[in-house]
């Protein structure tokens, strides 16, 4: 069994994301399962640009997981997405 790739997670900390729930996501050390946490490289990013896209279907806060941007992020949704990604 080869070594599993770590999941790259980028949390947007831009103004629009931060005030609309992004601040809660920065508490990831508290709400994420340690096993999931261990399999991810989490970092902040100053803006993912999602809030400026007039055609965006979803709303801030945005998180990028392995290159894919997800909107309307909540702690629960992030837990679910990351545990799926880590345990896949």
């Amino acid at each position: 069994m080869g070594k599993k790739e770590r999941i790259s997670v980028k949390i947007c900390v831009g103004t629009a994301c931060f005030v609309q729930g992004g601040a809660d996501l920065l508490l990831y050390n508290e709400f994420l399962d340690p096993v999931v946490l261990g399999g991810c490289d989490i970092e902040g990013v100053s803006c993912l640009g999602g809030c400026k896209d007039p055609n965006a279907k979803d709303r801030p806060p945005y998180v990028q997981i392995d290159g894919v941007i997800h909107g309307d992020m909540t702690q629960e949704k992030l837990c679910k997405l990351l545990s799926e990604a880590v345990h896949a």
């Binding site: 900390v13 103004t15 931060f18 005030v19 609309q20 601040a23 920065l26 970092e43 100053s46």
Partner: protein, 397 residues
């Protein structure tokens, strides 16, 4: 903006057991003619009575020094006005007035008037400068003793300091550690050693060091009010704050060129602005996840920039903290605290305000505290000028 900065600050410890000081320090700046007047007065006795005498004296001396009136006449008016002490049947308060003017070049003129306070000290670098003040006998009617004013006209160049203190400093330790107290020579050599050890020591730190030393000589139970003020003439410490992307993309390079050319500390406030700077300077931007609070997004790091923060939220919190004069130590470890620390360590702050509208901030779900950038910068400048006596300037891009 000036190429010279006059750093004035003071430190004070009240007489042991007193909740109000008998030494009063006043400072005013008149930006129209680059004039600073600082006054230190020591009232007879201690507590409320001394405070009334000293406040009256300091306030009068202060106001009169802004008028073209002859200083001996001013001194007579002050002494005639002071209320008489019930126990001692005399009215008495000492004072020192330093009228500091920066006219041209790299020198500052000081008009120093001293009455019965310990002599002021002047240091050029760490070297003590000695001079003989002109003595003016007031010969006032009804005076209970001979009243002699000391008048000196001094020139302070960059790197010079003027140290003024009350007799609580020179008499510290009297009868305890030192039979005759610390005395002028003791203060002089202590201040000299402090400047030698730290040639850039700020007025605040030097005044604090002298006052703390005097307090410790008094075995932490001050026998009189201990007050020290320091005037330090130096090159200004400059800071550049860049916030908001330029109105058009073509100006992005101009903005980055301005940042690169600036000599001093640099703050970039705004995610998009930081990304523009990072792209054009080819320096990676890294978010520091250890430095944030629930109200303020994390700051970032970038080579060549001293502080990178989020924009509007951080700036509005900085404006509130500066307006309310919140002490830095009471703030959480976030971008606002770091921003305010840099502001407090600067003398001149230049703002470059980008005028591009951020589409993302037009969302009605965004809290109202995200205001208009220009209004916010206006509030910041006012708070910096009024509450912290900083010089500020601004340009739009």
């Amino acid at each position: 903006m000036n190429d010279i900065f006059i750093d004035v600050d003071y430190a004070q410890i009240y007489k042991h057991g007193q909740k109000i000081g008998g030494d009063v320090f006043l400072l005013s700046r008149n930006p129209e003619n680059d004039q600073i007047v600082c006054t230190l007065s020591d009232g007879l006795g201690s507590g409320v009575k001394a405070n009334v005498l000293a406040s009256l004296t300091a306030r009068m001396a202060h106001k009169l020094s802004f008028s073209p009136m002859d200083l001996t006449h001013s001194a007579r008016i002050i002494m005639n006005t002071l209320p008489v002490c019930k126990e001692r049947k005399i009215s008495y308060a000492t004072f020192t007035i330093a009228d500091i003017r920066h006219e041209e070049g790299e020198e500052v003129k000081v008009n120093l008037v001293e009455y019965d306070n310990p002599s002021a000290l002047v240091f050029r670098g760490a070297n003590s400068y000695l001079w003989q003040p002109e003595r003016i006998d007031l010969e006032r009617e009804g005076a209970f003793k001979q009243e002699v004013l000391g008048h000196s006209q001094l020139k302070l160049s960059i790197g010079s300091r003027l140290v003024i203190f009350s007799d609580g400093v020179t008499q510290a330790g009297m009868g305890k550690a030192l039979p005759l107290g610390w005395r002028l020579e003791g203060v002089r050599s202590f201040a000299q050693a402090q400047i030698e050890a730290n040639p850039d020591i700020s007025s605040h730190d030097l005044a604090q060091a002298i006052v703390c030393r005097a307090h410790s000589l008094d075995r932490l139970s001050a026998k009189d009010d201990i007050t020290c003020m320091v005037v330090y003439v130096r090159k200004p410490r400059r800071t550049l704050v860049v916030t908001g992307p330029p109105f058009t993309v073509e100006h992005d390079q101009d903005l980055v060129d301005k940042i690169s050319r600036f000599e001093g500390k640099k703050i970039v406030s705004g995610g998009t602005t930081a990304q523009i700077v990072s792209r054009l300077l080819a320096k990676p931007l890294k978010v520091d996840m250890s430095c944030w609070s629930p109200q303020v997004p994390p700051c970032s790091t970038m080579e060549g920039i001293d502080l990178v923060t989020e924009g509007m939220l951080t700036l509005s919190k900085v404006a509130i903290a500066l307006e309310q004069k919140k002490p830095v130590r009471s703030l959480p470890n976030d971008a606002v605290r770091k921003f305010i620390q840099v502001m407090q360590e600067s003398d001149q702050v230049h703002f470059i305000v980008g005028t591009k509208i951020n589409e993302a901030h037009q969302d009605p779900n965004i809290p109202v505290e995200i205001g208009i950038r220009r209004t916010l910068i206006g509030r910041l400048r006012k708070a910096l000028e009024d509450n912290y006596l900083k010089e500020t300037s601004q340009e739009y891009i």
